[in-house]
Amino acid sequence: MISPLLSRPLRWLDHPAGVLRARPASLRTLLSIIVIFSITYGLVMGSFSVDGHLRGRQMLYSSLKMPLLLLATFAISLPSFFVLNTLMGVRDDFKLALRSVAATQAGLTIVLASLAPITAFWYASSAVYERAILFNALMFALASLAAQWLLRRLYRPLIARDARHRLLLRCWLVIYAFVGIQMGWLLRPFIGHPGVKTEFFRAESWGNAYVVVWELIVKSLHG
């Protein structure tokens, strides 16, 4: 998979182009797309800097964390998706379903990587940390929307074959989001505050995203 990428990179780009057009691709191709394109966005994401110095370490960490975030979330969510598919009686379609959700991940990373130049441009034009976070959130939201659209398209033949796939798709999204949010929270910082020493993990980030949100709600209710 990697050697054709190195020998003929332009030909290799046909694979991601095919993913965007919802063409079938092998799981290995999808995996390599996810890794390569998420590393690309991670590199750009971690390059935020106030004084114009290159932050190599943060770029390295972010580029490692992006594929970790996607693949670990995927791996943790997969067993329950598999059992639910089996239990609903559509196990014969599971290969296709798996490829569809994997292609969605690949699509997400491709869209993100295509947005990376805009993120870099934003970093170049604004040196405010909070705005950099917000801008990245916006890019992720955009990519998620695009991925959702792709997922619906990939799932259309499955749903046409059996309406139970619609419910399973929703289950997948709920499970994936539930795990993904916590994974994202855990792997912080992705951008890294320029004033703070660069670390792979934040010691104080070892917690639970949902409990933090819940405490924010309670705090706001108590005034």
């Binding site: 791996a75 943790i76 969510s77 997969l78 067993p79 329950s80 598999f82 059992v83 639910l84 089996t86 239990l87 609903m88 009686g89 559509v90 196990r91 014969d92 059996d162 139970r164 499970i175 539930f178 795990v179 916590q182 994974m183 855990l186 104080e204 980030s205 070892w206 917690g207 639970n208 949902y210 409990v211 933090v212 819940w214 405490e215 709600i217 309670v218 705090k219 108590h222």
Partner: protein, 281 residues
Amino acid sequence: MLTWLRHLDRILRGEATKPQELAGGTLRVPIFGLAVVIDVLGIFYGACMGLFSVMGGTTDRWKQIPASMVKVPALFLLTLVITVPSLYTFNALVGSRLKMLSVIRLLTASVAVMLAVLASLGTIVAFFSISTTSYPFMILLNVAVFGISGVLGLRFLLQTLHRLTRVVDSEEQIIQPELAGPAVVVGGPPPVPAAASLGALVHATPDPLGKHVKKVFRIWLIVFALVGAQMSWDLRPFIGNPNQPFTWLRPRESNFFEGVVKTFGKLIDSGDKNHRSGWRF
């Protein structure tokens, strides 16, 4: 072991509960084999659950993992043992033709479905066990996961029961065609659909038979859920309170439902406390 896992797979795929497989009014599954599979899946989930305690720090915390590995399968098997006799008795009382062995097979298969779902959610629970410091959150997450697997397992039970009742009833009419008369045979239940892709949770036909039997099973589902919930309370701790030393069992007090409500309260309180004393995260 592999053959038994294959049996579980057939149950999950709905192949073991296809109408033509249920001839004779019983599920063709090995009870002992499924019990072993249930144990293995329960042990796996117990390990995922007990991980939270190990992340706490103190020395004998690791004991929670073996404790939970024993307790999760015990929880399901004990609940089954406690509730089966009354189920069979009432089942026979309302005129069901299901034999004791069929009932036990059906229930073992349902618990196996439950454990399969539970174990498949185990990776998520393990991930949160490692990454979370909030004890109330872990309790509620585990309650939710057990709830999901319980609902799916019991749904499997009801659907399979529905199919079994149909098969048993139609067989009775085939055996005694003269007694029942030709009119009944013609007007009898419609032919059981072959439906190759019928899932394990899908209604076989819209026409329910054996209403009393279904009612008994429905009531029993509630009994099973209540006994199971209270059993989980009696076998505590499964997760391990980080502020208390390790114990195999806790003294008897209160009950499951009071406990869940209190946990919600604690989550609210902890938010309030953190608000006053600064953030922990």
